[in-house]
Amino acid sequence: MCLGVVGRIDEIHGETATAEILGVRRQISIVLVPEAKINDYVMIHAGFAINIMDARDARETEELISEVLKYSR
């Protein structure tokens, strides 16, 4: 139930934003991440952005590879 989807913020109108989620534009609330800016990637749960993501694209395999390497020894 704690599923989240990643979206990119396109427009901001006060506490509401339009985010592109897998190619679809949706209204989300950014009241839990007031520092969000246009083009930020956010994790969205139940219509609310719950965090701003560090990575530009969380699903990028390259990043996952470097993560794996970090723990290799």
Binding site: M1, V31, M43, F48, A58, V68
Partner: protein, 362 residues
């Protein structure tokens, strides 16, 4: 390519775990979403037989008491009430029947329930609030919005639960044999890593906040296995692309303002101190129990269902005599078979049971 990567990590896990020769290693994936990822990816087949992955209590639908559902069904009989909730909740069996038969409004966001309230000024809209720290801030923010807009016909039935007190319960239970915890990614996006530190300090139990790609879960397992091999215990963050150690301070502020911590009953487990949320006095006018004082009788679990044991990692779904026979996702007996992220449903759906390596079979 991703498969090769997964195999690389899996081989590292096998290598690390081969250093432990005297006993099996049990890890608990606390979060139901992880249970689903593990079952769906088929990663158990890649992992060493000595490593056991046990499901935990992190399935909100599974741990919501029948009494909450019974109360909601009784509420929905009031002519003036509209029940709104998340889709996951409507098929969960109460003592007699589910909410589904009582035409609840299924919403994606709690803000949609507030919209329903505004559109139906003559009726009371009650949001059945279930979930963990991922979800409760979204309802908290909705309540703040309702107060600001002075919406008088919006109420919440607060059945929210907190993860760290449940983990404390697990860590201190002598009969639960778990050496490390795969910690929930999105709960931790809100609370950060600090609320788990007691696990390492008090119980010498390592924990790893883990993301939801199969490769994330394998990495989480690797990090935990290495710590166990080295006799270490720390709380680490594998899912650092989303989770910050300090969590989300804005969301935590809203939780603090709107809710107070209270004791809470976990279905199949029992009462756990300080593990739930109720509305704070400032927002108590949104508490539906103040408005509708309906008593529902105490309820017993369905006969034969061992969900409580499954949720604590004491039994595997296939240990239940009803599993796959009288109890299936189409006709579920207990809550762990209803929710797609319940362990019984995950094991059933992906045929991920009875394999060697699970339940210490080999």
């Amino acid at each position: 390519m991703l498969k090769a990567l997964m195999e690389t990590v899996a081989s590292k896990i096998i290598k690390a775990i081969s250093e432990i020769t005297d006993r099996p290693v049990s890890l608990m994936e606390v979060c139901g979403t992880h249970t689903m990822v593990i079952a769906k990816s088929g990663m158990r087949a890649m992992l060493p037989g000595k490593l056991r992955l046990l499901s935990g209590p992190g399935c909100p639908v599974c741990v919501t008491p029948q009494e909450t559902i019974d109360y909601c069904i009784a509420l929905s009989r009031e002519a003036n009430v509209i029940i709104a909730t998340f889709g996951d909740m409507v098929r969960v069996p109460g003592t007699r029947g589910t909410l589904e038969a009582h035409a609840p409004r299924v919403v994606y966001s709690p803000l949609d329930a507030l919209t329903i309230a505004k559109e139906n000024p003559g009726r009371d809209v009650v949001f059945l609030g279930v979930g963990f720290e991922t979800t409760s801030p979204t309802i908290g923010a909705t309540i703040v919005e309702a107060a600001r807009k002075n919406v008088r016909n919006f109420y919440v039935l607060s059945a929210f639960k907190l993860i760290p007190p449940a983990l404390d319960y697990i860590a201190r239970s002598p009969q639960i044999d778990v050496q490390g915890l795969i910690l929930p990614g999105h709960v931790s996006a809100i609370i950060g890593s600090k609320p788990y530190e007691f696990l390492a300090e008090k119980y010498h139990m390592p924990g790893c906040i883990t993301g939801f790609e199969p490769i994330d879960v394998l990495q989480g397992i690797l990090i935990l296995t290495r710590q166990i091999v080295d006799g270490k215990s720390a709380i680490t963050i594998e899912y650092d692309r989303v989770v910050k150690p300090e969590g989300n301070s804005q969301a935590l502020g809203i939780l603090n303002m709107v809710f107070d911590v209270c004791e809470s009953r976990w279905r199949g487990i029992g009462m756990i101190p300080d593990s739930g949320l109720k509305l704070s006095s400032k927002y108590s006018r949104f508490d539906v129990r103040n408005e509708y004082d309906i008593k529902v009788p105490e309820s017993a679990e369905p006969k034969g269902c061992i969900c409580g044991r499954v949720l604590l990692g004491l039994s595997m779904p296939f240990d239940c005599a009803l599993f796959g026979k009288r109890c299936t996702p189409v006709d579920p007996v207990g809550p762990c078979m209803v929710s797609s992220e319940g362990s019984c449903a995950a094991y059933f759906r992906y045929g991920d049971y009875g394999k060697t390596g699970q339940n210490g079979a080999t």
